[in-house]
């Protein structure tokens, strides 16, 4: 009975979508806002990656909201899982020698790769979120390979809080120096060099550290039993 009702609902939804998407053809939709960002983006912000300049400079307030949502989710997960108390204590056997040695060699290399990706976020494809996810997967490898090491709570909380604080403080400094929140007040420099595009690399470094330590603490809370 439930399956028949679900299939009827999906057919009605499909008809509605087909009727409303007759105007959106594939490959021809060009908006004025996108055209302005592509034409004037390199001169106005100094970054050569247009998607980065849209995420951090033109729509920086949405990125602040997203960082807040991620923080609320990580805190909520920690609060829900430690309030229960009691899980079975499982015996974990140590990993084999190949996995242990490989993990110890690969872990610093993965961290350096992640840091490289979010430092060069305004020049090449990449940025804070991708670099933070790579750092978190490096910590996941650490849990699977060398099992007796856990990340210290103090360091991860410190990195997460400092990242969020630097983002908000730079936005408020823009309010002090110019007219509005998240104004680009540092000099723009020549494009395609590392120290260019004003406040964009600083914000992306803060976001990279924050997202990396948050995802690593999510995994740490899920693994820990009792």
């Amino acid at each position: 009975m439930r399956k028949i009702v679900s299939i009827i609902l999906l057919v009605i939804a499909a008809l509605g979508i087909r009727l409303s998407l007759k105007e959106v053809r594939f490959g021809e939709h060009e908006t004025e806002v996108g055209k302005h960002y592509v034409d004037e983006g390199r001169d106005e912000t100094g970054a050569t990656n247009i998607v980065t300049s849209v995420v951090v400079s033109y729509r920086g307030f949405d990125t602040l909201g997203e960082v807040t949502v991620l923080f609320i989710a990580a805190t909520g997960l920690g609060a829900v899982l430690t309030a229960g108390g009691g899980g079975k204590m499982r015996k974990t056997e140590p990993a084999s020698l190949v996995l242990y040695t490989g993990c110890r060699i690969l872990f610093p290399l993965i961290l350096i790769f992640g840091i490289y990706i979010f430092i060069h976020g305004h020049l090449t494809p990449g940025g804070g979120f991708q670099g933070g996810a790579i750092i978190a997967s490096g910590f996941l490898l650490n849990y699977l390979g060398c099992r007796e090491r856990r990340i210290s709570r103090v360091a991860s909380n410190l990195a997460e809080s400092l990242g969020g604080l630097i983002f908000v403080v730079i936005g408020l400094l823009g309010l002090v120096f110019g007219g509005y929140f998240l104004l680009n007040f540092l000099p723009k420099g020549t494009p395609n060099t590392l120290f260019s595009a004003g406040i964009i690399p600083i914000i992306y470094i803060a976001i990279g550290f924050k997202v990396g330590s948050e995802l690593a603490s999510i995994i740490d809370n899920l693994i820990e039993e009792s």
Partner: protein
């Protein structure tokens, strides 16, 4: 070119149907990770390298990892 994209889209839909049919939950999670991986390749064909990198690292690796850790703390087989 259009043949490659059609083949990838068919493979993605087969993976999504498989994720809804499997009774072993870990196999369903691996099928969902396959869907994310092929979506990341399609993002690259649609000229979006930033989004492809984000989907490959977050959707295909970290989502599957937290699913498997959560399944380990509960039951493995669907009733």
């Amino acid at each position: 070119m259009i043949v490659v994209v059609s083949f990838l889209v068919v493979l993605m839909l087969v993976g999504a149907v498989a994720a809804s049919i499997f009774r072993d939950l870990i196999s369903a999670v691996i099928a969902a990770a396959l869907v994310s991986l092929i979506a990341s390749i399609l993002f690259y064909f649609l000229q979006a390298p930033d989004v492809a990198m984000a989907e490959a690292s977050i959707g295909a690796a970290l989502t599957a990892a937290i699913f498997i850790i959560a399944i380990r703390r509960t039951k493995r087989y669907e009733e």
